[in-house]
């Protein structure tokens, strides 16, 4: 394999930086972006991070850390638009762009070096263009593979550019704590610590047989990670694996217990799943329901495989309710999720019986209206009971969000 040049680009405190650019009053101040319903910090500005404010804290905890913090309700569409435009910019330098999340991407620039001179030059050009167009900064890591490129981008924040030359890999990894590597979570870190492994250097030298015995096939992977080896290619969207499921979940503003209320949210989720599945011409044979309780630690999930694949919202809803009826809920509900999987890519088939044809025509008519005027403009009557003006649909950007294809979920 020829030497690759991989770049990882990470937008700095993305949502918070966008808000600071939008509102000059917020620049240089500690701010935290929160969701419109529940009060959890989704991103904190660097000024707020300096006080110890972190993603995932609730507003009360954030204010404890930083009394002068300013909370800003996030605008998801602003972030997805910005991310989409930045990804378009990246694709001008190489077609091999893998979107890792809304604010991170990998680029394989090996084939672009002849055109642009060097990876550093590409990085400087990108940084300058993103700053000029949006006023935002990013950190870029350049290395021979994805693992090291991501590590490099983490080394200088904000607005950094770090290069790990192939000849310096061992030196960089020797004393680096294992938790710094992407893919080594707290649990794996603890398990490795128990084996006496603290640094990447130690991980790389550790007998692979013991790692294999302890972690199975992952043991080999961990050993390679410790030595800075990663052959994973940068996979652009068009080469990515087909999605295996279409699902939506929502954390509720308040914990709920009433069956009617649960059913209303399930119907809303079923419509979101059905709309997306129909838009991309997929049907699912398996329907899953997941519920997370108020303590957020325990959850129940169950799935049911049907005789034939479905994508009509009413059918998905019926299947989700049937699963719900088999469960005994032991606590108020905080999160609900509906998913179809076991997907078949097939267009609409004209049903044999008139009653079914009517239902299909109704769904098509509803979709046409909603395609033109926006989601939930025409919907099920039982969803009208909610407070007027209350937004329906995805209120949170999922980690699986992508700028194109079936994963491009339109957020509110």
């Amino acid at each position: 394999m020829t030497q690759r040049t991989i770049m990882h680009l990470d937008m700095n405190a993305f949502f918070a930086s966008v808000e600071q650019q939008s509102n000059p009053e917020l620049r240089g101040k500690p701010i935290a972006v929160i969701g419109s319903g529940r009060t959890v910090v989704t991103t904190a500005s660097y000024e707020a991070r300096a006080f110890g404010v972190k993603t995932g804290m609730n507003t009360w905890q954030a204010r404890q850390q930083c009394p002068q913090i300013i909370f800003v309700v996030g605008n998801n569409r602003k972030y997805t638009h910005t991310s989409t435009r930045i990804i378009e910019m990246l694709r001008e330098y190489t077609p091999l762009v893998e979107v890792f999340s809304i604010d991170e991407a990998f680029l394989d620039v090996t084939g672009s070096l002849g055109l642009f001179g060097s990876a550093e030059r590409i990085a400087y050009l990108l940084k300058a263009r993103i700053r000029q167009r949006f006023g935002l900064t990013c950190s870029v890591g350049i290395a021979p593979n994805k693992l090291l490129a991501k590590l490099a981008s983490e080394m200088q924040k904000p607005d950094g550019l770090t290069v790990i030359e192939p000849g310096r890999v061992q030196q960089v990894l020797e004393r680096l704590p294992i938790k710094e590597l992407c893919g080594i979570g707290r649990k794996t870190e603890r398990q490795l610590n128990l084996l006496g492994i603290q640094t990447c250097g130690e991980l790389g030298r550790y007998p692979v047989e013991i790692l294999r015995k302890r972690f199975g096939i992952v043991g080999d992977h961990l050993s390679r990670m410790g030595r800075g080896i990663d052959d994973a290619p940068v996979i652009p969207a068009e080469q990515a694996e087909e999605v295996k499921s279409v699902g939506h979940s929502m954390t509720l503003e308040q914990d709920i217990e009433e069956r009617d209320e649960i059913l209303r949210f399930l119907l809303q989720l079923s419509e979101m799943v059905g709309r997306r599945a129909r838009r991309y011409g997929v049907r699912g044979k398996t329907v899953s329901l997941s519920i997370r309780y108020a303590d957020f630690d325990t959850w129940v999930g169950k799935q049911e495989t049907l005789p034939s694949p479905i994508n009509r919202s009413a059918d998905i809803y019926r299947a989700a309710v049937a699963i719900l009826d088999t469960l005994v809920l032991t606590q108020p509900v905080r999160l609900l999720g509906v998913k179809i999987s076991n997907l078949r890519h097939e267009g609409d088939q004209l049903p044999l019986f008139e009653e079914e044809r009517k239902k299909s025509r109704l769904v098509s008519a509803m979709d046409e209206v909603n395609n033109r005027f926006g989601d939930f403009k025409v919907s099920f009557a039982s969803l009208l009971d909610e407070k007027p003006g209350k937004e329906k649909g995805s209120l949170v950007i999922s980690p699986a969000w992508r700028p194109d294809g079936i994963r491009n979920v339109e957020v509110k």
Binding site: N23, P24, H81, N371, R372, F373
Partner: protein, 77 residues
């Protein structure tokens, strides 16, 4: 606040749309700086959003491309 219709004077350039002033009631607000722009879709319609400053206040103007109309979506003083 929810999308109040406003009169806007804007320059349509190849590089994009640039609002110059907007009128709310009898008062006219000169756009001093466009701090951020983004776009989204409402159904089939593309909407262009502009966060602008005027007189020390921050406003969000929205251009609805299908109906070619402008609204004021948010104000922060």
């Amino acid at each position: 606040m929810k999308h109040e219709p406003v009169k806007v004077a804007a320059i349509f350039e190849p590089a994009g749309v640039r609002p110059v002033w907007f009128a709310r009631g009898a008062r006219r607000y000169a756009v001093e700086q466009t701090t951020y722009t983004w776009q989204d879709r409402q159904g089939a319609e593309t909407r262009l959003h502009f966060t602008i400053t005027s007189g020390g206040e921050l406003f969000e103007l929205t251009y609805h491309t299908a109906g070619q109309r402008w609204t004021l979506a948010a104000i922060e003083g």
